[in-house]
């Protein structure tokens, strides 16, 4: 290293971070993570609420669709009369396809998914608030 470079480098401030910079970065990360968790929790709760409200309004119709579905009658026949049910597999599959209450199943799956997500995010938020260090991995 020549003299001029040495002189130049000696004039620079010491290579230390300003006081409190690390804390400020961690606080920013924590805030961003908390906001993300709150947003996800809000979306999950909104989905869950929407599903429950729809279920409450349409519960009678949905229950009726399930009760009237022939799929739940075809399935036991597969156990009692497998020779005929599996011997006519195409008809069995078409019968199941036309009678399975897909709407009710989709609603149930959506409701279950959003509930699981809401619980998951609520737990993550709880941990994040009580153990800030976990936020780095959230």
């Amino acid at each position: 290293m020549d003299k001029s470079s040495h002189k130049f480098l000696s004039q620079l401030p010491a290579p230390e971070s300003p006081p409190g910079l690390e804390d400020r970065i961690i606080a920013r990360v924590r805030l961003a993570s908390l906001r993300g968790l709150y947003a996800r929790l809000a979306f999950s709760i909104a989905g869950c609420t929407a599903g429950i409200v729809y279920l409450a309004i349409e519960s009678g119709h949905i229950l009726m669709a399930i009760q009237q579905s022939a799929a739940f009658n075809i399935l036991p026949l597969a156990y009692t009369d497998p020779d005929i049910v599996f011997g006519n597999l195409q008809d069995t599959l078409l019968g199941l396809g036309e009678s399975i209450p897909f709407g009710a199943i989709a609603l149930g799956a959506g409701l279950l998914f959003s509930t699981i997500c809401a619980v998951e995010f609520a737990v993550a938020l709880f941990h994040a608030k009580h153990r800030p260090a976990t936020l780095i991995t959230v």
């Binding site: 949905i62 009726m64 009237q68 009658n73 019968g95 009678s99 009710a104």
Partner: protein
């Protein structure tokens, strides 16, 4: 050049394009399946509707006005509940020769045709056409025909007291 191609094929963009294409193919397949099943169901309902008088007599004769019932029927998820053509499960309203009329769980009558290949069973035993009587609960599995009927492949009598 070969190395370039190999890297291109392994790139994330190509992978995502392939995933998207596979997703589109799966969605299109499921959509087509839904359309096909819906079309079959509608066709059976149309034939059931057109042959109602021949299969069941004039509307109202069996104690119900099916037109009014269909109009007033609740429609879960905004879709009308059409009677299925591959099975009916309910009570026998009438048994006449090789044809029985069943009131399904949806309260819609279905005409079931018994052919020589129809298996009629109760418990572990084979039954005869004569064992089918009004007010019995039965499970019918079959295939829709051009007359809006169900050609039965299996009729299982559910009433244990029937035999």
């Amino acid at each position: 050049m070969k190395k370039h191609m190999s890297e291109f094929i392994k790139s994330k963009a190509v992978m995502w394009v392939l995933i998207c294409l596979a997703g589109i193919v799966v969605l299109a397949g499921v959509f087509q399946l839904g359309v096909s099943i819906g079309e079959r169901k509608s066709r059976h309902f149309n034939r059931w509707f057109e042959n109602y008088g021949r299969n069941f007599g004039p509307p109202g004769i069996m104690g119900r006005d099916w037109r009014r019932d269909m109009m007033n029927a609740p429609q879960p998820f905004g879709r009308p509940m059409l009677p299925g053509g591959y099975g009916v499960f309910g009570k026998i309203l009438s048994a006449d020769g090789n044809r029985i009329v069943i009131q399904g769980q949806d309260n819609v009558e279905q005409s079931v045709l018994i052919t020589t290949s129809t298996a009629i069973r109760i418990g572990n035993y084979e039954a005869k056409i004569g064992d089918l009587k009004a007010d019995q609960n039965v499970s019918v599995f079959g295939r829709p025909n051009d007359q809006g009927q169900i050609e039965a492949k299996l009729i299982r009598i559910m009433d244990s007291r029937a035999k």
